[in-house]
């Protein structure tokens, strides 16, 4: 195995190479002037692997991109822009999911504790933020999908779906580039983002209604159980306070044992 490896890597055993046998040819093939279209000196520029001057300049510019330019020219950023244009309400819910569902809980949990109770409050607040972010995104995406697709159909063929009333302010509905006019852009925003005013109300109700089961089954936090335990604690505290005549003084050990979450 070791011998094979040596043979494999040794240029003398692995066949002829331009580097060792003909160093001049190597030099000429990689000579800088080979890039110049005017001076090819009998060689094929493309064959040598060199780029034409204009292409090499573009390549240099692409290589010298800043971080911001790299982000702007990335595929993900392009897809995000398509998403923001075609589905603004779900896109808004997606931003909410990232900011309110991920960044806010992280910030809440990173804040310093004032006392023992505030840690529990923080956990609850973080769970609420995650729940509302997830529910908001799912609800908005599901409800708005057919509406956004309908608006896409109008943008592709306005004359098919719009009436004479629209023709009055938009002009010829069959005209090319109608959807880039200022009036159309603003009306498009109103149609795409306006439903958020209406769906915002049922969404908030559904969010509030679904938070307890999500807290219980996803995060393992049962608010009802906590309330029950708190009530039991209150009852236990009250029974401890009951004065029984001629009873022996309460032991310190029993006083220390109390139910509930501390």
């Amino acid at each position: 195995m070791k011998i094979n490896l040596l043979n494999y890597n040794n240029p003398y055993y692995s066949g002829g190479t331009a580097v060792t046998k003909d160093p001049q040819a190597f030099k000429e093939r990689n000579y800088a002037e080979m890039c110049d279209k005017k001076n090819t000196r009998g060689y094929n520029v493309n064959f040598s692997g060199s780029l034409p001057q204009a292409t090499s300049e573009t390549a240099a510019k692409l290589l010298n991109k800043t971080l911001g330019e790299k982000i702007l020219s990335s595929n993900t950023f392009g897809k995000l822009l398509d998403y923001a244009h075609a589905n603004p309400i779900p896109c808004n819910a997606f931003f909410s999911l990232v900011l309110a569902g991920m960044l806010r809980p992280a910030t809440i949990m990173a804040l310093p504790d004032k006392d023992g109770k505030s840690k529990k409050d923080k956990l609850n607040a973080a769970a609420h933020a995650v729940s509302s972010g997830v529910i908001g995104f799912i609800f908005s995406s599901a409800v708005m999908k057919p509406f956004d697709n309908a608006m896409k159909k109008i943008s592709n063929d306005p004359a098919k779906f719009l009436g004479k009333g629209a023709e009055k302010y938009l002009g010829d509905l069959t005209a090319k580039g109608l959807n880039k006019t200022a009036k159309y852009r603003n009306v498009e925003k109103l149609m795409k983002m306006g439903p958020d005013i209406i769906i915002g109300i049922p969404r908030s109700f559904i969010t509030i209604a679904l938070i307890p089961p999500i807290l219980k089954y996803v995060f393992g936090i049962d608010p009802k159980k906590d309330v029950k335990k708190e009530k039991e604690n209150v009852v236990a505290d009250n029974t401890n306070n009951v004065q029984i005549p001629n009873a022996a003084p309460a032991s310190q050990a029993f006083n220390a044992v109390k139910g509930g979450v501390k």
Binding site: L5, G78, F161, N179, A182, K189
Partner: protein, 262 residues
């Protein structure tokens, strides 16, 4: 600047260990198998969507639904006199998305305030309800003011970012200058100026770029509004509002005690 890329491999076995070479040898067979699986999967998915007896009625029903929404909801709304008036009045406005989102937030906040003030006395006492309603109103006010302020201050900067994006998308670093030159000519002819979206639609005939530039505009507003409404204000303003509420409650308690004493 000239870059020479040497694609010629003089002795590819010299630097490559035997282990890697074996990997390369076995790769095509695996890739072919993987490609076959992906192709088969894609074909199955296409068949499921386009030819499946189970899926096809659903696809047709969805298509009809979006057609109906486009014709009867958006079509009628966009052809109405109210929307025509909206289009005429807002044709020069750059903050339509902000106005719509503010309206949506106002509706949501209004609902929360209404629900809070109508909570049963058992769940929350009267003063606490007022403080919570004040918290909602204060959060909404600060968020709205902040969103308009940040969006307005970033207007020119974001226009430059949008231009940079268009330059990177088209690979034309002189795009801004070209639009300026066109605008100078148009101004001399007494015609309206064009913007990036007009240029992309009328000169480049690139609908994808038009949509993405619209996405840049909407996406910025969505991100700023969501960042302020859903992250910055809840994290920064809520503790302040809570402290303010506590102070108001403590002050009221003091006053009540003073009234009770004499």
């Amino acid at each position: 600047m000239q870059i020479t890329l040497n694609t010629q491999k003089y002795n590819q076995n010299y630097y490559a260990p035997q282990k890697n070479n074996n990997k390369l040898k076995s790769q095509p067979a695996f890739t072919a198998a993987a490609d076959a699986i992906i192709d088969a999967g894609q074909a199955m998915a296409d068949a499921a969507v386009s030819k499946s007896k189970f899926m096809q009625p659903l696809v047709d029903a969805y298509d009809k639904t979006t057609d109906w929404i486009a014709k009867n909801i958006f079509g009628k709304l966009m052809s109405s006199s109210a929307v025509a008036s909206f289009a005429e009045k807002t044709k020069d406005s750059k903050y339509i998305a902000n106005h719509i989102m503010t309206l949506g937030a106002a509706t949501g906040t209004g609902m929360y305030i209404y629900k809070t003030l109508n909570l049963p006395e058992k769940q929350m006492d009267k003063d606490r309800k007022k403080v919570l309603a004040l918290n909602h109103a204060l959060t909404f006010g600060v968020s709205t003011a902040g969103a308009y302020l940040v969006d307005g201050s970033l207007f020119n900067k974001w226009r430059k970012v949008t231009q940079k994006y268009a330059e990177l998308y088209t690979g034309d670093r002189e795009l801004g200058k070209k639009i300026e030159d066109i605008n100078k000519t148009l101004k001399a002819q007494g015609k309206n100026k064009i913007d990036l979206i007009d240029y992309a639609a009328d000169y480049l005939h690139d609908q994808k770029l038009v949509n993405r530039l619209k996405g840049m505009d909407v996406g910025k507003t969505l991100l700023i509004v969501t960042l302020i409404y859903r992250y910055l204000v809840p994290v920064a303003v809520t503790p302040i509002a809570n402290k303010l509420g506590d102070k108001i409650l403590a002050h009221k308690k003091e006053q009540d005690e003073k009234l009770e004493k004499p």
